[in-house]
Symmetry: D2
Subunit: 356 residues, 4 copies
Amino acid sequence: MTITAAVSGASGYAGGEVLRLLANHPEIEIGAITAHSSAGSRLGELQPHLLPLADREIVETTPENLAGHDVVFLALPHGASAEVAAALPEDTLVIDAGADHRLEDPEAWFRFYRSEHAGTWPYGLPELLLGPAEAGTAGKQREKLRGARRIAVPGCYPTSVLLALTPGFAAGLLEPDDVVIVSASGTSGAGKSVKPNLLGSEVMGSMSPYGVGGGHRHTPEMEQGLSNAAGEPVTVSFTPTLAPMSRGILTTATARVKPRAAGDVAATLRAAWESAYDDEQFVHLLRPGQWPATQMVAGSNNAVIQLAYDEHAGRVIVSSAIDNLTKGTAGGAVQSMNIALGLPEGAGLNQLGVAP
Amino acid sequence: MTITAAVSGASGYAGGEVLRLLANHPEIEIGAITAHSSAGSRLGELQPHLLPLADREIVETTPENLAGHDVVFLALPHGASAEVAAALPEDTLVIDAGADHRLEDPEAWFRFYRSEHAGTWPYGLPELLLGPAEAGTAGKQREKLRGARRIAVPGCYPTSVLLALTPGFAAGLLEPDDVVIVSASGTSGAGKSVKPNLLGSEVMGSMSPYGVGGGHRHTPEMEQGLSNAAGEPVTVSFTPTLAPMSRGILTTATARVKPRAAGDVAATLRAAWESAYDDEQFVHLLRPGQWPATQMVAGSNNAVIQLAYDEHAGRVIVSSAIDNLTKGTAGGAVQSMNIALGLPEGAGLNQLGVAP
Amino acid sequence: MTITAAVSGASGYAGGEVLRLLANHPEIEIGAITAHSSAGSRLGELQPHLLPLADREIVETTPENLAGHDVVFLALPHGASAEVAAALPEDTLVIDAGADHRLEDPEAWFRFYRSEHAGTWPYGLPELLLGPAEAGTAGKQREKLRGARRIAVPGCYPTSVLLALTPGFAAGLLEPDDVVIVSASGTSGAGKSVKPNLLGSEVMGSMSPYGVGGGHRHTPEMEQGLSNAAGEPVTVSFTPTLAPMSRGILTTATARVKPRAAGDVAATLRAAWESAYDDEQFVHLLRPGQWPATQMVAGSNNAVIQLAYDEHAGRVIVSSAIDNLTKGTAGGAVQSMNIALGLPEGAGLNQLGVAP
Amino acid sequence: MTITAAVSGASGYAGGEVLRLLANHPEIEIGAITAHSSAGSRLGELQPHLLPLADREIVETTPENLAGHDVVFLALPHGASAEVAAALPEDTLVIDAGADHRLEDPEAWFRFYRSEHAGTWPYGLPELLLGPAEAGTAGKQREKLRGARRIAVPGCYPTSVLLALTPGFAAGLLEPDDVVIVSASGTSGAGKSVKPNLLGSEVMGSMSPYGVGGGHRHTPEMEQGLSNAAGEPVTVSFTPTLAPMSRGILTTATARVKPRAAGDVAATLRAAWESAYDDEQFVHLLRPGQWPATQMVAGSNNAVIQLAYDEHAGRVIVSSAIDNLTKGTAGGAVQSMNIALGLPEGAGLNQLGVAP
């Protein structure tokens, strides 16, 4: 039995990537392709790389057009998805690539978005450790996605950060109040909106920070996941930077190591990450000495991770690389869909990066 | 029944791309992975983007290691493949990504390579028009690949040029002595050899020509294919340039239109290209007004083409974009393998580019 | 005595580059800095690389604000400069970086711009050969700029093309009806307008053509200069492409060599280019074997040129590289200003590229 | 009276940049241009962007060739400069762009370089604050450079880090044991050595960390400068990353703010940075809301800085951008030379970036 999927926001980068993955998915038939200002166009005019879908018409994003599918992907501006989802049947799997349903704390939502919180949906990061390892039963987020009919896709930065740091927090190895994260993102992370600072002439040959000083909306999402894993409140200092590349996030995340991590600290740390990801097909702890590069994961659903213990500074430094559009958005969405629907978790997804 | 394939030259870009495609191929099991100076390493050290193959050992490129497979891919320096192929059974499918067996004319080979010609193998460009349309029976190269056990993969530039221009020559619409081609290639086309001019610091922000004045070894290969299609000798002026990107070839090919192309010349021209590629799954004439960009085809096996008639100059200008490593090398090789073995022509290949 | 200069269009790339050069000019004092939609801003908000001018206020582009300067640079949309210039005194040096006053033929203007021709101003390409060498007296454009009070800055593509090909035409060595030009430009050539296809995500990793088929507005300007040099009408086929870099134009220009170029054709050709540029400080014929790269000239006022004779195809292939914003726009403007005002021709200009 | 300068290591990026700046310097005449493996070549073969020097011969790096100049620039592998300097007269100004003479602590040298320390030379960072502000008399490094005849040019990363953080440490506002720094560097920082990971194909579209975990040799240099400014030992965690651009360093540096920074912490912090750099011509605290980008400073000797107070995390985040080859190497060297020789500090240097 074929599963049908509708994709909204199809003119943007997130929507385009969802379509790219679904077009390769053995179990999915792509139904309605919707957008707003470009409704009426052929997809080939806006996403010319999706050649097999070039002649498909883009229709308006309305509940009517999204209805009648088994799965609906929402890649909409924040604030828009709750209403659309409310108009869809409860047994339709709705996957929101936007921010609306990620946060558990309505106050954190309000502080960063200045609007009423739309509610919390299961968080689409299957590999996320849910609590301290010593508690023994917390497990991973994967379990919460089975059978789900509403899923909130994580932000791209939080995906890279949570995969990088939760093993250490869940293992009780890291201090909660001294986490510093600097991420470099490709420009597609800023979307397809035409702002002067995103022009090719401006970004090529240039690195720049933005949203510095705690203001980035992804910060509470990071703290939520890290705090859950740690079993205590975690505070992060997060600085995103824009890098001269189209795709990819490289995160450098550091935290102070707790004194309890005695003995061979480096080995203790490595063991925590190994045990967290040994069974994962899309999250890979690289062999010692090899460091992540965003090119390794381009176009794939992989996250690659490496860590080092800086004894001098008393800190662990964790580096993670993902493709912001794949594992960071559309790949995470499809992977979560697979789990929710009971399909093979990797269906339609790729473990092979496109490099060089 | 599983088909086994060995891949030589696995440490380079061509070999890496063959492995990437084979790892996604539903009918192929990857056997020996061979190289020369990096024999003994794990593949993950050299091709870290191929994560599922990371632990596979690279063995020395020897006839013994390549023997016992149904298919052997050779990605070796020119001059090396004939000897290796001679040591393999005749019923092994040997696919040479190098230049050794592409040219039909031993003199042309000698002029450009200064060594004895190793013989001609069926040319791995299935969509190539083999002769003038008026002759009626020439057909395409695809037929010559069915059941073949030796295949010469075309050069990356010739692939982009032949797909761009053969429809016009086969239709008798273009003058044979006034063809000018300028191509821009990503740096992976120059391979993984560490030369100063290929350093990132040198290539970023820079465009430069090379091999100017007829010296490029791909020129006779272009003339061979165009002359066959035209049924008369075609001479080309070809200038390759190096562009600041990793992958992709954009070819701008122009030729003077013959006077016989009377009436609505633009429509006559378009019709020739349409009829050549209407049934092809990997070669796409874009809708009028849309022009190729290498990003459209990144990581895919597609070629995208557009043409315009410049009435003022009396020329047709054809633009084609391919991924030099996929359709231009490894994708063409796998597609030809599929045809030779009677598999679905598109098995393991992708029509979806990775963009942006 | 200090010379004062006003710069309009100061928020764009051309205006910014004029300001960069003038701020380094020993004889110029920058007066009014004007723009339209960003009037009222500080320059530092729009051109943060011009730190010494960061606190200067941008005022509205009006005749009043531009009045009272010795020199006025216009970097305005086409169609706007004639009116502004008319409001300025005749003895003010007005330098128009736009297209309005470049063409000598009103019909050519109308065909490409669909508006009334605003008249022809002296063409700001000092090194341009004005006629056939055999005529003996044509000389270079430099002479026409001395004392001029109205100057039309050449387009960036025409600058690269005219410098590449006029020596051959002036020497009577090239056929006039078979000129094919393919240029690759950095994205700053398209200006600072926010169009989706100029987003960093779209241009990085991508090459694409545009304006194919004779439609580019720079074509008549090329034909004008080449025809003048040849003493007969020259027709060109010109295809511009967009390259993934911020600055730079690499032009590949080819023409069929006339039969009269007998004997050692390569030497005859080289001699023509040598004699054309031997005395020039900003146009350099590279030593044999060395080919232009846009990185060589970044930020400088240089043009670098190399040529090869392709005996096989009977064509000369000339490669030229310039910085589109410097020699291709603002540098050419300042160089022309220097000549018009009797200053040292190289004042404020740089012969040293910023590389790598 | 003209001052003569010899430049060793002229085939590399640092040496090339020294030559670029000296060629623009009004008081300097370039004497011997030396290198090792490329001795005998013309400079134009190796540094084609330095057109006015293209015909200059590169001679072997020997004391004889370097002798007889007023200034000698050394851009040599570490370990080589002490011997060369010893062979030069004491009144020759020797400026070492290498690491040999930067560190004050021989043990720190030995720990990172495993060789005997060559001694400490005055540190070529004029704007460096030398001690706590409360002490009142420490001043800046500039004073120590006047009349100096041996100067150690800072590392490029330390330049960006020390300019970013010393104002806060000198003002006593920052905790010394919780400093986290992540820098992104263009590939020219890794030099012109041909390593596979520096190939254009590898670096374009990719971000990657290296030397993670305290191993980077620039760490002790950072700690030395910060500790001096703070008047107490400062420990840093430093992670460098490689960015897909040729030039530029963007540093994100964070430190915990001391409780004593009470009241309006943000204003107190900003005041410290303002007072440190208000009089500097090459170090610029950007206006509030504007953040550094490496493009702003390309080719210039500027450092641009911005800071934010992250109240939530209790940290200050400082962002700085420099051109690694100019302010980070050759520009710092020339600026220090100017001070040592009593020339205007900015002679031959540029405050205008080349952007876009």
